[in-house]
Symmetry: C2
Subunit: 688 residues, 2 copies
Amino acid sequence: MTMQHDYVTCTSFAENEQHGVQSQEKILISNGHPGKPWQPARSKIRGCLRRVQTAMLSLAGLEWYCYAALGVLTALMSFCMDLTIAKLLRAHQWLYGCLEGNILLQFLCWTLYPTCLCALSTSFSHSICPQSAGSGLPEIRTILSGVHLPDYLSLSNLFAKLIGLISTLSAGSTVFLGKVGPFVHLSNMLGAYLYRLYATACGDKQIRSQGEMLVVASAVGVASCFGAPISGVLFSIEVMGSHYSIRDYCPCFFAAVCGSLTYRLLSVFSREQETVQAVFKTRFPSELPYQPPEILIFAFLGLLCGAISCVYLYSHRWILRFVRTNKFISRVMATEKTLYSATVAFLLASVTFPHTGGFFIASQLSMKQLITSLLDSTRWNLISHNVTVAQEAPHSLWQEWSPPGYSVFYTLGCFILIKLWLLVLACTLPLPAGYFMPVFIYGAALGRLLGEGLAYLFPDGISSGERLSVINPGGYALVGAAAFAGAVTHTLSPALCALELTGQSTHVIPILTATLISNALARSRHQPSFYDGISLIKRLPHLPSLIRACPKLSSIQIRQFVVPVGAVLQRAEGVTGVQHVLNSSKENEFPVVDTHDSFTLLGTVTRAQLQTFLLSNQSQDLCKSLEDECSIQPVKLQLSTDATVKQAHCIMSVLREQCVFVTEMGKLHGVITWKEMKNMIEDLAKEI
Amino acid sequence: MTMQHDYVTCTSFAENEQHGVQSQEKILISNGHPGKPWQPARSKIRGCLRRVQTAMLSLAGLEWYCYAALGVLTALMSFCMDLTIAKLLRAHQWLYGCLEGNILLQFLCWTLYPTCLCALSTSFSHSICPQSAGSGLPEIRTILSGVHLPDYLSLSNLFAKLIGLISTLSAGSTVFLGKVGPFVHLSNMLGAYLYRLYATACGDKQIRSQGEMLVVASAVGVASCFGAPISGVLFSIEVMGSHYSIRDYCPCFFAAVCGSLTYRLLSVFSREQETVQAVFKTRFPSELPYQPPEILIFAFLGLLCGAISCVYLYSHRWILRFVRTNKFISRVMATEKTLYSATVAFLLASVTFPHTGGFFIASQLSMKQLITSLLDSTRWNLISHNVTVAQEAPHSLWQEWSPPGYSVFYTLGCFILIKLWLLVLACTLPLPAGYFMPVFIYGAALGRLLGEGLAYLFPDGISSGERLSVINPGGYALVGAAAFAGAVTHTLSPALCALELTGQSTHVIPILTATLISNALARSRHQPSFYDGISLIKRLPHLPSLIRACPKLSSIQIRQFVVPVGAVLQRAEGVTGVQHVLNSSKENEFPVVDTHDSFTLLGTVTRAQLQTFLLSNQSQDLCKSLEDECSIQPVKLQLSTDATVKQAHCIMSVLREQCVFVTEMGKLHGVITWKEMKNMIEDLAKEI
C-alpha cells in the first residue's frame, strides 16, 4: 500500500522498503542480550515484534509512518495547548468576575494578568532559545528555500516556543495575537526531529530529504491548528518557494488528514463536540445564501480589504524599522526585552480595559468568541433596535458588540479604528506569537461593518427575480476575513481556510473573488507581503522575497559572487599532493581537473576515496597517480558564470543539489554550496 | 492591480506593461486611413479607445485579460454545450414516451438514437481531425511536460472535439461517458489560441510562456465544467508533471474563478438556479452528519473502492490492448471506425433497454439524474418497504432504483456488476468522450450500496454518546464516488471535486480519508493510473508515466541517446566556414568551440549574427574571424553525459529550457532539444 509518485528519486521504492525492513531488524536483533531472564518469552515477543514490523513495512515505507506520527503528534500538541489556554483564560475571567464592584482591583486584574504572561513568555523564550521569538514563518520559508539556519529547528527551540506561545495566547484578546505561524514553526521542529529519527533508522539509503519532511510539516501545522487539511496543503504549496514538487503532494495530504482527524476526534472525545465538525461552525441559510448582485458588493469588500491591508502593511514595516532604528527602544530591546514586553502589554491592556476604551471594542470577548460572534448570521442592528427580541434572547455574544446606548456601527467602527494600531504595536512584542488570526478577525470586523450597513440600508433584503432574501452580515464577515488575511499575507489559502473553519461552502465564490481582488491590490507596485517585510527587515537570506521587493536583482549574475575552489586535485596527482589537500581542507568532496594549468573540470572524488588511495600507496610504496586508483565521479551539471543568482538558486532548490560547480569555457571557476548561496543572497540584500 | 509573484521571469512587470501599451497603441494608430469619411469622429473614437486601453493595461498586464477571457469563454462553451445536450436528451425521452405501448418501436427508438449519435460523433471527429478522439487528457499531460505534439492544440481539433463531444453526451447514460477530460482538452485548445493572440500583441517581450497558459487552461477546464474552482486548481497542480511553478498559482485561481463564476451566473440567468450554487446540491443534515465510529466504515469503503478500481484498471488496459492486437477488430478500427462505434453503441443500448436489462439498472435516468439520485440522503430501502410513504411521495428519482418487486440492493448490485463491463467496453469507442464522470457515478453506486446495507442493518441509526443519528446513505455515495474516481485517476482532486459539486463540506474528513486509502491501494506495485495506462498503450512520449510504470528507467543516463551537434563553429572560423555552416543547417543557434580539435564549448551565436558577419565581410573584403565580430553568448547550463534522462527532462521542463548542451570534461558532446527528448522517451518506451 505504497502511495507514491516518485518521479524524482532514483531508488526504487521496493528496494528501499526492503532495506528499511532489514535495518530495522538488525536494530531489534541486536537488542537481545544473552544474560537476561525469561529468554524464551523474550525471544517470542521479539519474534512477534519483528513480524509486526515486517508486516507494517510491507504495507508502507517507514516515511509514511513518520508522516502519520507527525500529524498525530502535532494535533495532540495543538489540542493540549488549546486546553491549557482555555483554562488560563477562564481563570482570568473568573477572577475578573469576582472583583465586580471594585474598579481599581478589576483594572489591576485586567492589566497585570496579560502583563505577567507576556513578560513570562518573553523571558522564558529568550532565556532558553532567543530564536523562538516571533512568528517563525519567515525563517521556515528561508529554510524551505534551501538555506540552513542554525538553531531554528532544534528541540530546545520547540520547548521554548511551546511554553512561550501558551503564555502569549493565555493573555487573550488583550494583546490580540494568534497561533498559526508559531504552530507551523513548531510542527516543522517536530518534523525535523522525526526526520532525524527516520534518517537514523534508514541509514544512507533514505529516499526522502529533510526538505520534503518540512514541506509536509508546514501543511500539518495549519491542518492541526484548525482541523483544516485542504488549506494546510494549499498553504504548504504557496509558502514553499518557487516550485512545488508533486512528489510531496500525497504525503502533505496524508499527514494533514492524519493531523486534522486527530484534532477533531480529540474534541469529540473531550465532549466539546458531538462529532467531527468544523471549529467555527456557522449556520448560514443554505437555500439562498446571497443574491447574485451581492457578488459586486463582495468584490468591493475585497477592494476595501486590499486598501486597508496596504495601510496595515506599511505601518507594520514602519514600526519594525522604528523599533530597530530608534536608539532608546533598540537599547531597551537589546537588554531588557522582558521590560519592553511588559510595558507594551500593560499599555495594550489599559486601552482595552472594559470600563474605559474596551467598552466600545467588545474587549471582554476572547479570540474565539470574537470570530464566532462576527460570523453570526443574525442582523445585530435590527435585533438591538427591536427591544422585545433583545430582552427575550438569552445573553449572547453579540450583545457585547452592542453596549447599552451605543449602536453596533459605533462599536464596530471603534474596533476597526483602534485595533489596527494596537495590532501594529503588538507586532513589535519580542515573544512567540502568530499574526494570522488577528488579521483574520480584523477582516471579519471590516466585513461585518459593511454587512450591517447593508442590512440597515435594505432591512427587507435584496430581491432579484421572485424571491427576496435578507442580508446575512455573517457572510460579509467571512468574506472580509478571508480577503483581508489573504491580502496581508499575499496568499490565497486563507480563502479555503475560511471555508474549512466554518464548515460551510455556500460562500465559496464570493470568498475567492474578494480574496483575489484584495490580493491584486496588495501585490501591486511590488509591495512586500507581511512575511516578506519581516524577511527584509530581519535580513533573512530568502531570495524570493528579495526579488519580489526589488525585481531588478533577478538579472544579477553569479560572476561577481563565485568563490574559487580551495582544494583542487589534478588527474595525475601523486601521494604528496593528495596528502596536502586532505590536510589543508575539511571538505568531503574534491574537484579533479585535467592539469593545474588547463583547469578543465573532470569530476569529483570523495575524501574516503582519497584516504583509501593514501593507505594503499603507503603500504605498497608504489607511486601510482590518483587517476589509476580512484574512479573520478563525473559532474552531472555545470553552471557558467553568466547564470543569474536566481537561476542558480532555482536549480539548487528544485533539484535539491547541495553543490554546483561553476565553469567558464570548460575551466573550473568556482563552486556554489548553500553556504555560498547564503552569502550571495546576503550580499544581494545589501544592494537594495 | 497586477497580481504576480514573478520569481522566475527576468523582465520587470512594469517594463512589460509599458511595452504592451506601446505596441497596442501602434496597432491602433496604424488603422487610421486618411481617405475615409468622418475623420474627426473617428479620431475621437480612436482616442477614446486608446485611453480605455491604456487604463486597462495600467490596471493589469495583458495576460490577465487573456486569463479572464479564457475563463469566461470556456464557461460559455460549457454552458451552451450543457443546454444543447439537455435539449437532445429531452427529445429522446419525449420520443420514447410517445411510443409507450409498442415495445418494438420503443426498442428501435432506445437503441438507434444513441447509435446514430455515436456514429455521427465518430465520423465527424475523424473526418475533421482524427486527434480529437478519446479523452485528450493523456496528450495534454504530455504537452504540459514540454513535448510538442502537432495538431493537438489546433482550432480544427477544437471544432471537431466540441461537436463530437456534444453528440457523444447526447447519447445519454446508455453509452455512459462523461465530459471532464475532453473539456480540459477543449479549454487547452482555446488557451493555446488565446496565447497565440497574446504573443502577437506582445511581440518578443511576452512574459508568459505557452506552458503557463496551458496549466491555467487545465484548471479552467475543470472549473468551468462543474463551477468548481478549487478542485480545478488542484487538478492542474496534480496533472502538471513533476514540479508546479508557484508563479502559475494566482493565474490558475483567477481564471478558474472567472470560469466558474460565469458558469454559475449563466445558470442563474437561465433560471435554472436561484443563485450561485453548487451543481449537485445535497441536503445532508449538518448538525450530526455522521458518528465518529462511522469513519472506520468510510475507511473500509476506501479500501473497497481501491480494490475494485484495480479490477477496472486491469480490464481497461486489457481491452485497449485487445482492441489494438486483435486482427479483426484492429482492421475494423483502422478502416471502419464509424461502424465499430455504431455496433458498440447498439450493443450497449440493447443491454440497457428498459424492458430488458435496463429495468434492473435504472437505465432511464440520465447521467445528472444518476448522481442526484445516488446522493439523495433518504434511505431508499426503508421507504420502499414503507408502502404508505412510497405511495404518498410524488414520483421521484429513487423510485427508478426500486422497481416493483425488486429490492434496492438488487438494482444497485446489478448496476455495479453490469455497468463495470459496459463502461470498459464503452472506453474502446473511438470518439471524443470523458471517463471521469462514469467512474464517479460508479463509485457513488458502490458507496450507496454500502450505505443502504448499513441503514438496513442499523435501522435506528448508530449511537455514540447521547444522541442517536440515522445512517445517511447519500454520504456514503459521495465518499465512494470521490474514493473510486481518485483511485482510478491516481489523484486526490476528486475529493475536493465531490465537496464542490455538492456544496456541502460536512463529509470532508471521511472523503479525504477514503480517497487517500483508495489511492494508496491503487498505486501499490507500480500499477499505472487510468491516464498512465492510455499513455503507455498509445506510446505517448510522457516520461513520468513511463517511470511510474517502470522505475528502473529513472537511472538510465543520457549518454546513449545524445545526438552529436550537426553544425559547430570554431572561435577563429572565417567567412567560408560560416557560409558553409549557414547553408548546411537550418538551426537558429550554433555552438562555438575553441578549435575543432579541442572541442571546448565556448558559447553560442545566432543565425542573425552570422548573417551580419557575412555581410560586413563581403563588403569590406577583410578576412576577420568570427570571434572579432560576433559576441559569443555563453551557455548558462551544461549537462554531462552521466546525467539521467529524468534529470535532463526535469531541468528542461522546470527551467523551460528549449535547448541544453551536453559536455564531457569541457568538450562539447551533443545537444538536447525537445525533439531529441521526445526521441529519447520513445526509445525508453521500447525498453519496457
